[in-house]
Each structure stands twice: as structure tokens, then as C-alpha cells.
């Protein structure tokens, strides 16, 4: 026993001395990028990554730091940064010219050319291709011409944003020539779309079932390709990848090489949230996006004095969404529910740093509505205060009665069930808050926690769902902020099925309810116009043309949609979500909000929409800005 103890002690000491020998540290003195390591956590597939963006694997930090678009937009601010495109000129003749950076090169050393831009769009039929009238044209080695469909030409702002949405620096024509050429061949063999055709027709060609099959086969071949080096153009090159760690080295041939002030990026692959907190606490990473519960956040900052935490708007609001399939949700009851909750308390339960909202479900997050709507229209959005007396009055008007402190309807006690995605901490907090409020108010509530998004969504959208209402994003923009994405989220993709909105069917077309077959599957919803004329509009006719509006038209359209949705009380927002970034302030000398950081490293100030800080802080979130801070030189290490 004694011998074993001695051996164990010797082994532990030896492991500690020999195993922890590798450490990186920053040197002092003049800035030499090679001396600086930026450490970040972003998960990738442990089973290995394919050496290109379209290989189907999650590639972790490579996506931020190696694969680039023509123009990068910053989520939540829509700020544009030109990367692979030196310039994009939009002409009056429905064409645009993309001029590619003269010095842009692939990581293999070959030039990035117009051919590569064309190759990207011609194998990835991304959203923007639906607005383009014909295949892209190569004007010269570094210039590409786009011809837009005249009948659905996006405005200049949207053109840039659509082009910014795609990682164009991911298809090197010389590497993927066979599949790109094959794709072009399939494309050109299809029927041309007639003028005015606004269904899916990339580059003006209508996809047939047969060509879809051919595309799929070709795309699968493309996915399966695995070039020797990772296909990318960005500021960092992939050096080495293991199951848990990744090393990226500065690309010395990068066209903005002088901007890049860090020599190495060390990536960690830690999916578990507690593991991430431990990495932050023990000074293993210099950056992490997202929030943590208040106590955890402060504990992390206390344990690691190098860190600060900045907050920025997340373009989405969290609240309640009603299942309209349930008869209980009459207009009066929906309105009553707007008054029941103390939204400030609900916000605190979900995200202490959020911004309390007093809006019903309107289809846009408050910060986005404020940024895009006319001020006078924004002021017309109905706001609701915490007023349970008013709620009780409305419920009584709806035929509800109260007996023994419990609300009854039709002689039976009201019992509701609330579904929520238990993997989302904010939503779990809100669900608990709602439960507490409603039980006190006299409405019995059963909480139904789903283990993950998939289970929750499946349960919520199914017919005769067990959920009477759910906690969810009442509006959310995953992509750029120009108003469309959030309306699609609310009406088509996620909240529409959860609310059980009605959609046009084949039967509606056969019976003449609609005269356009392409409206099948689109929401039936009609809403009152905002001008008070009493006229209504069909939401399914508004959405497809959002990108082509002038500023004035957009204002009118937004007023109709936001105020129209608000009038229905399909849900209620508790708070606009606020997210954040943990950053190593001792490593990065050029962080914004230095005065705030000096006062309190947990910076709670959320910059106003449109202010300089608003843009600067959003950039610090690498998920929002995708590494712009490196390629544009916003981050400089502290010497």
C-alpha cells in the first residue's frame, strides 16, 4: 500500500511538471503579430472537417476567420465592410458591377478572380440568384456583371446585403471546375422564366423536377470533394485541427495583411456551456459570444480579471405566442393577456440585461422597428402596461368568471399548458415567471418543458398540440436587419406553424379563393391597413416584394404590417433580447467603451440604435461580424 502511494504521488507530480509544459504568452515591446495569440471557442465537427465550406461539416472558427464574403455585413447593425469586393457599382440599367480586390489570393497562392465569383453563385443557388435575370458575366479577370430581373429588382441596399449574405470566397474554380461546369450545363438546359415570373427561378431559369435531381447529384459530388488544403481567402490559414483544438496562422499574403495584428488563432471545441465558463474563468480563451446568468457572469469576471463583457442588441424579442387553434384565445382574451404580466419582472426572469418591451407581437424586434419605421408610425405601436384589473375586466367581458380565486370559463376552471424549449436558459426563466404570475392571478398553468428545440417545435406545430401557448421569440432576425427575415420567421417559418395560422391550400386554388397557384402554402392572413381606411391587405402578397421597395414605400408597408399584426395580439413581447461578448481587455487594446470598462468590467450599457458605439460594440461580437475586427484591423494587441 505504501509503495503504491509513493508511486501515485510520484506519477502525479511528474504529470503536472511534464504535462503542463506548453504555454503561450505575449511578449512586450513593439507589436509583432507573430507574438500574439488569440484564443477562441467555437465548436466544429469532431469527426473531422472537409477542406471546404460546402463539405457539410461545421468548421468552427474557420468560418469566421478564413472564409470570406464579397462584402461583410454586421448582424443587428447592417454595417457593410468590403472584403473580396473592392467595389460594387449599381447601375441604372438594372445591372451591377462587382470589382474584385486586386491582390486577393486563395490560400494556395493562386489569384482570386471573377471566375471564382461566378463559380460560387453558379453552384450555390443562394437567395440572391433568384433576383438575377441571367448567368453572371465575366467582364475581365477581376470584374463581374450582374443583370437583375427588372420585375423584382431589389433596392441598392438590399442588393448589397444579399451579396453580403454569402461566403463567396469558398469556391475556387480551378479546384471545383468539374462540378461548377456541370452545374452551368444543367442550368442552361432549363426553360427560361417569362418576364414577371416571381417564383423560384435562379438566373432566370425555372427548375424542373428532373433538373433538381441532377443538381442534387452534382451537389453531392461537390460536397464529397476534399481538397488538400482548406479552400479559403481569409486572414487566417488552417494549420492543424484535432478533435478539441485548432490552430490557424496569419495569412501573410492576405490583401489586408497589414491590418491583421495577431499571428495565431488557437481554437477550442467546447460545446458544453459549463466547459466554456471554465475556459473563461481559467484564462484559456480571449473571446466568447453570448451571455451568462448574472451570478455566473460576475463570478467569471471575478476569477479572470483580464475579461470584460460588453452588451449589444440581439435582433429578436422574447415573449408569448398563442396557439390560435385553441378556442380559448378569443380577441378579448388575447388582449387581456397583454395586461396580466409585469414585463419588467418577466424580463428579469429571462435576461436581466434585456430591454423591457411593452409591445404585443409585431413582427419586428423593438430596436429594428425603431430603426426602420417612420418615427410617427413607430409611436403608434400599442403599448401595454401591467394592469391586472384591466385584464380581469377584459376576461369578464370575454365571458370568464372568477370563483374561489380561480378563473372559470363555461363552468370549468381554466387550465392552460405552456410549452417552452428547456435548452434555452432565457425561455426557461420566462416560463417560470409566467407560471408564477398566472397561478397568482388565478389561472392554473402547467409548464411543459421540452428537452430541445426540435422536440419543442414538433410538439408546438402539431395539430391539437398539448401546448395552449408557448414561450418563444415573438420576432427574430437571423440574417441582416432589413425588414423581411423577421416577418418570415413570424408568419411562415416558425411562429406561423406554432400559432397555427391558416395557409392557402390546393383546395383554395381549385375553388377560386386564390387565382395564383404560387400562393399555395402562403399565409391566408389579411390585416387592416394602417391608414385607417378600413381596407385590408393580404400578407402573402406583401412579403415577396419587400426587397424592391423605395424608402417611402417601405415605410408605408412596415406601418401596415407592424400595426396590423399588433392589432391582432397574436402574442406579447416581454423583452428585446440583449446578448454580449466576453473579451480579454488586457490582450485587445482597441476595445470600444473604455470608460465603461474602467468603471465596471460587466458593462451593462447597451448603445442606442444608430450611435457610433452601437456599430463599434456590435463588431466585437464575432458571430455578428465574422472576424471583421481582424481583417479590418479593429483589433490591435496591447504591446
Amino acid at each position: 500500500m505504501r509503495r503504491i502511494s509513493k508511486f501515485a504521488f510520484a506519477l502525479v507530480t511528474f504529470l503536472m511538471i511534464s504535462g503542463c509544459g506548453t504555454r503561450t504568452s505575449n511578449t512586450t515591446g513593439e507589436i509583432n503579430p507573430d507574438d500574439y495569440v488569440f484564443r477562441v471557442n467555437k465548436t466544429w465537427d469532431r469527426t473531422g472537417i472537409r477542406n471546404h465550406y460546402h463539405g457539410g461539416s461545421n468548421i468552427g472558427p474557420i468560418e469566421w476567420l478564413s472564409v470570406e464574403p464579397l462584402v461583410q455585413y454586421v448582424r443587428s447593425t447592417d454595417e457593410l465592410h468590403y472584403l473580396l469586393a473592392e467595389e460594387i457599382i449599381h447601375n441604372d440599367d438594372h445591372t451591377s458591377i462587382i470589382k474584385v480586390q486586386k491582390n486577393a489570393k486563395w490560400h494556395t497562392g493562386e489569384d482570386f478572380t471573377a471566375e471564382d465569383v461566378i463559380a460560387f453563385f453558379h453552384i450555390n443557388f443562394v437567395s440572391v440568384t433568384n433576383y438575377i435575370a441571367k448567368p453572371l458575366e465575366e467582364i475581365d479577370n477581376k470584374t463581374v456583371k450582374i443583370t437583375w430581373k427588372t420585375w423584382m429588382e431589389p433596392n441598392a441596399n438590399v442588393k448589397n446585403l444579399l451579396l453580403a449574405e454569402t461566403k463567396v470566397g469558398s469556391v475556387q474554380y480551378s479546384v471545383f471546375k468539374t462540378v461548377v461546369d456541370r452545374c452551368q450545363e444543367i442550368l442552361r438546359s432549363q426553360e427560361r422564366a417569362p418576364e414577371g415570373y416571381n417564383d423560384w427561378a435562379p438566373f432566370g431559369y425555372i427548375n424542373s423536377k428532373a433538373s433538381e435531381t441532377l443538381y442534387m447529384e452534382n451537389y453531392n459530388t461537390f460536397r464529397a470533394m476534399n481538397p488538400k488544403t482548406f479552400v479559403a481567402t481569409g486572414p487566417f490559414k488552417v494549420e492543424r485541427v484535432t478533435q478539441n483544438q485548432m490552430v490557424l496562422l496569419r495569412n501573410k499574403d492576405y490583401y489586408f495583411a497589414d491590418n491583421v495584428k495577431f499571428g495565431t488563432v488557437l481554437g477550442y471545441n467546447t460545446p458544453d456551456i459549463n466547459g466554456i465558463y471554465n475556459l473563461l474563468s481559467t484564462d484559456k480563451i480571449d473571446y466568447q459570444d453570448g451571455l451568462a446568468p448574472e451570478a455566473t457572469l460576475n463570478s467569471i469576471l471575478n476569477q479572470n480579471p483580464k475579461l470584460t463583457h460588453l452588451k449589444m442588441f440581439d435582433p429578436g424579442a422574447i415573449g408569448l405566442v398563442f396557439n390560435l387553434e385553441k378556442e380559448i384565445w378569443t380577441p378579448k382574451v388575447r388582449e387581456a393577456f397583454q395586461y396580466i404580466f409585469n414585463r419588467e419582472e418577466m424580463k428579469n426572469a429571462g435576461n436581466k440585461y434585456g430591454i423591457t418591451s411593452s409591445f404585443p407581437l409585431v413582427g419586428m424586434a423593438p430596436s429594428e422597428a425603431k430603426a426602420w419605421m417612420k418615427e410617427s408610425d413607430y409611436a403608434r405601436i400599442p403599448t401595454y402596461t401591467y394592469d391586472q384589473t384591466r385584464a380581469a375586466q377584459l376576461l369578464t367581458e370575454a365571458g370568464w368568471t372568477k370563483s374561489g380565486g380561480k378563473w372559470m370559463v363555461g363552468g370549468e376552471q381554466v387550465k392552460l399548458s405552456l410549452g417552452y424549449d428547456g435548452s434555452h436558459p432565457g425561455m426557461s426563466g420566462v416560463a417560470e415567471g409566467v407560471s408564477s404570475t398566472l397561478n397568482t392571478f388565478g389561472i392554473e398553468l402547467v409548464l411543459k418543458r421540452a428537452a430541445d428545440f426540435g422536440t419543442w417545435f414538433d410538439t408546438a406545430k402539431t395539430q391539437e398540440s398539448v401546448y395552449d401557448f408557448v414561450v418563444n421569440w415573438t420576432d427574430l432576425n437571423m440574417s441582416f436587419s432589413y425588414p423581411t427575415g423577421s416577418f418570415n420567421y413570424v408568419l411562415n417559418d416558425i411562429n406561423g406553424p406554432i400559432m397555427h395560422l391558416q395557409y392557402f391550400t390546393q383546395e383554395d386554388f381549385d375553388n377560386g379563393v386564390i387565382d395564383d397557384e404560387r400562393l399555395i402554402g402562403k399565409p391566408k392572413l389579411t390585416l387592416p391597413k394602417a391608414d385607417g381606411s378600413g381596407e385590408t391587405f393580404r400578407i402573402s402578397e406583401y412579403l415577396p416584394t419587400m426587397y424592391s421597395l423605395t424608402e417611402e414605400e417601405l415605410h408605408a408597408r412596415l406601418a401596415d404590417m407592424v400595426l396590423g399584426l399588433a392589432s391582432q395580439n397574436f402574442g406579447l413581447s416581454f423583452y428585446q433580447n440583449v446578448t454580449g461578448s466576453f473579451l480579454n481587455k488586457d490582450l485587445i487594446a482597441t476595445l470600444p467603451l473604455q470608460e465603461h470598462i474602467a468603471q465596471n468590467r460587466n458593462v451593462t450599457y447597451v448603445p442606442e440604435v444608430g450611435s457610433d458605439d452601437f456599430f463599434a460594440v456590435a463588431r466585437t461580437n464575432l458571430w455578428f461580424s465574422q472576424g471583421i475586427v481582424f481583417s479590418k484591423g479593429y483589433y490591435e494587441p496591447r504591446p
Binding site: 469527426t47 460545446p271 410538439t459 437571423m478
Partner: protein, 356 residues
């Protein structure tokens, strides 16, 4: 002379037949077990397939959500991309899927990920099982070693400070789940003292060869191994104590004492060795259990093991991988049971007789 040849052939054939008949008769207990094992495997395969089909969560929507989050693209765009990227036909009937699944198994194809056609069950077994087996087998051996030392001493000296301490340790270590031990160890030795790494299997900045690499791997494995071991020690100690108490009443122990042999000699040469025999089979069975990995522990230590990949497949509703991994684990468990059962039968003829 002419009749002799056919007679000889006949005799040989009869001899072979007799041998086969005798062999089959003698080993009939084994064939019966193999038959049962195959039926169990078949049932596990069918049960697993339909159980997975009952899981909520549409993989296309989930993948679209993931793509939308990762690539910051709208859900409709992500959904279109997800449909293109998935190796999955949502319109296929359950029976078509089952047919495809079984025909794959027959060909030795355990399954391919729905999300990536280069990720197969075989790839996962090859890449992740070695890491799982590495830490869990070391933990098993360590806990076994400490457990038998502790149990032997507890049996021999049933009073005193050591016994009380050991009993307390067994109660506490058994009552606290392994993942909680993992978190406690990380907090103390990883976060507070910073003596050991809090996650991973080795440092990427090292060369993948030589002594530095080995020590770095052991350094990273230290906390997971300790966490795994703590909960297992108690079980082995109690089993050993039970076995040793039986041995203590044997005549040869009294004889050894009468011969004036020292305590240490009696414990190490007579008591421990004889008490160990029944524990060896348990050790073999425990080894089979290791193949399943420990998803929670591997997640806490962010260790690239088989269990955490399995739980990831469940989280992403990668049906084809889940099915394949379940079949693989069923196969290992059933095989281990079969071997253990057969060994018992071979070692102890009474079991064979009882069963036949």
C-alpha cells in the same frame, strides 16, 4: 481387397459424424446461448429502430435551425439548404427505412450520418472508442486495484480507524454521481488550483509523438480517470470484503496463522489471491460496459469519447448514426454476456448440467 476402400471411407465418415455429433452434444449449451444471443440482438435491433422513430424532432427542421444559426441565414434559405444536404428522404415510409437499415446491417454497414456521408459508425468507433477505452479501462483497473486492497484490509481488520474511514468513503463516493465528482474535481484542481487541464485529450501545440505527447495525454486524462475511479472503488471494495470474509473462515488461513506467518504475508499470499477469483469475472463484465462510454463525464471533461458522440447524435436526431451505434453497443454487450456465460459453464460444469 476391393471392398476395403469403401469401408475405410465409410469408417472415416462415421468417425467424423460421431465427432461432430459428440461435439455438438457436448457444446449444446454453447449453441443454445449463441441462438439466444442472436435472437436478443435481432430484438434489440428492431426495438432500437422503432424506438428511435418515436423520437420527437424533425431532423430537417433541426438541421435547418442549426444552419440558420451557424451561417446567419434566414430559416427558409436554411431549410432549402438542409433538404439538399441531408442524406435522408423524409418521404420514405418506416418500412422502406427499416428495409434499408437491415440490408445495410447484413452488408456490414452499421450506418452513415444523415448530415455527412463521410461520417459512418465505423469512423466514430475508430476515432472515439479508443479514447473512451483508454480512460475508462485505466479507471477500471485503478479502481479495481484500490478496491481490492481496501476490501481485503477491511475484511481482515474489521475494527479501527481504517475501517470506519473506508466505510465512510464508500458511502459518500457511491452516493455522489460520477459527473458530480467530475465537476468537483474540475472546480478544485482545474479552476481553483489550476494544476490540471479542465478539458480535452492533449495539447495541439505538441508534436504527436514521443514521451512529451504520452505524458501530455496522461496529464489530460488524470482528472477524468480519477472521477471515473472514485465511484467504482466502493463497489470493488465491498465485493472484495464479502469475498475475503468467506475466505477468512477457510482452514488454510487458520493453518497459516498457526504456522506463525506474518499478517502481511497472510493477506497478500492467501487471503487476497483466493478472494480475487470471483471478482475476475465481474471485472471482465465491467470491461464490456466500458464500450458504451459515459456521455455525461465525457461532456464535462470535453473528452472526445464514444459516449459524448453518441449523445451528440441523439441531440441532432442523426437517426442513422444512433441506430448503428445502438446496434454496436448491443452487439458488444450481448457478446460479453455470451463469453462470460460460456466461461462460467466451462469453468463450472454444474452450470452446464443445470442448463441442459
Amino acid at each position: 481387397m476391393e471392398n476395403k476402400k469403401p469401408n475405410k471411407v465409410k469408417q472415416v465418415l462415421v468417425a467424423i459424424g460421431t465427432f461432430i455429433r459428440d461435439f455438438l452434444f457436448k457444446t449444446r449449451f454453447l449453441w443454445r446461448r449463441i441462438g439466444f444471443a442472436l435472437i436478443t440482438l435481432l430484438l434489440a435491433t428492431i426495438f432500437g429502430f422503432f424506438l428511435i422513430k418515436m423520437m420527437l424532432g424533425d431532423p430537417v427542421t433541426m438541421f435547418a435551425k442549426r444552419l440558420s444559426d451557424e451561417r446567419r441565414i434566414p430559416m427558409d434559405e436554411a431549410y432549402r439548404l438542409a433538404t439538399m444536404l441531408l442524406n435522408y428522404d423524409p418521404n420514405a415510409t418506416v418500412w422502406q427505412q427499416f428495409g434499408r437499415y437491415v440490408s445495410g446491417l447484413v452488408k456490414g454497414d452499421f450506418g452513415t450520418s444523415m448530415y455527412r456521408n463521410d461520417v459512418t459508425v465505423t469512423v466514430i468507433i475508430k476515432n472515439f472508442l479508443p479514447w473512451t477505452l483508454f480512460i475508462s479501462s485505466l479507471a477500471l483497473l485503478l479502481s479495481f486495484l484500490i478496491g481490492i486492497l481496501m476490501g481485503g484490509r477491511m475484511a481482515y481488520k474489521r475494527k479501527g480507524f481504517f475501517n470506519a474511514g473506508a466505510n465512510s468513503f464508500i458511502v459518500v463516493s457511491g452516493a455522489v454521481p460520477d459527473y458530480l465528482w467530475g465537476m468537483i474535481l474540475i472546480f478544485i484542481f482545474g479552476v481553483t488550483l489550476r494544476w490540471f487541464p479542465i478539458q480535452g485529450n492533449y495539447d495541439i501545440l505538441l508534436e504527436l509523438k514521443g514521451w512529451p505527447f504520452i505524458t501530455n495525454v496522461l496529464y489530460h486524462a488524470f482528472l477524468p480517470i480519477i472521477a471515473f475511479s472514485i465511484v467504482q472503488i466502493g463497489g470493488w471494495a465491498l465485493a472484495m470484503r464479502g469475498s475475503a470474509l468467506g475466505v477468512l473462515g477457510e482452514d488454510y488461513i487458520y493453518a497459516a496463522k498457526a504456522r506463525g506467518l506474518g499478517e502481511r504475508t497472510i493477506v497478500s499470499r492467501y487471503l487476497r489471491k483466493n478472494s480475487l477469483l470471483p471478482l475476475i469475472t465481474s471485472l471482465a463484465m465491467s470491461f464490456a460496459v466500458l464500450f458504451g462510454g459515459s456521455p455525461l463525464m465525457e461532456t464535462i471533461f470535453n473528452y472526445p469519447g464514444f459516449g459524448s458522440e453518441f449523445s451528440k447524435a441523439i441531440g441532432t436526431r442523426d437517426y442513422f448514426l444512433i441506430q448503428g451505434l445502438m446496434v454496436f453497443m448491443s452487439f458488444v454487450m450481448i457478446l460479453a454476456n455470451l463469453i462470460a456465460d460460456s466461461l462460467y459453464s466451462i469453468i463450472d460444469p454444474r452450470i452446464r448440467r443445470d442448463n441442459t
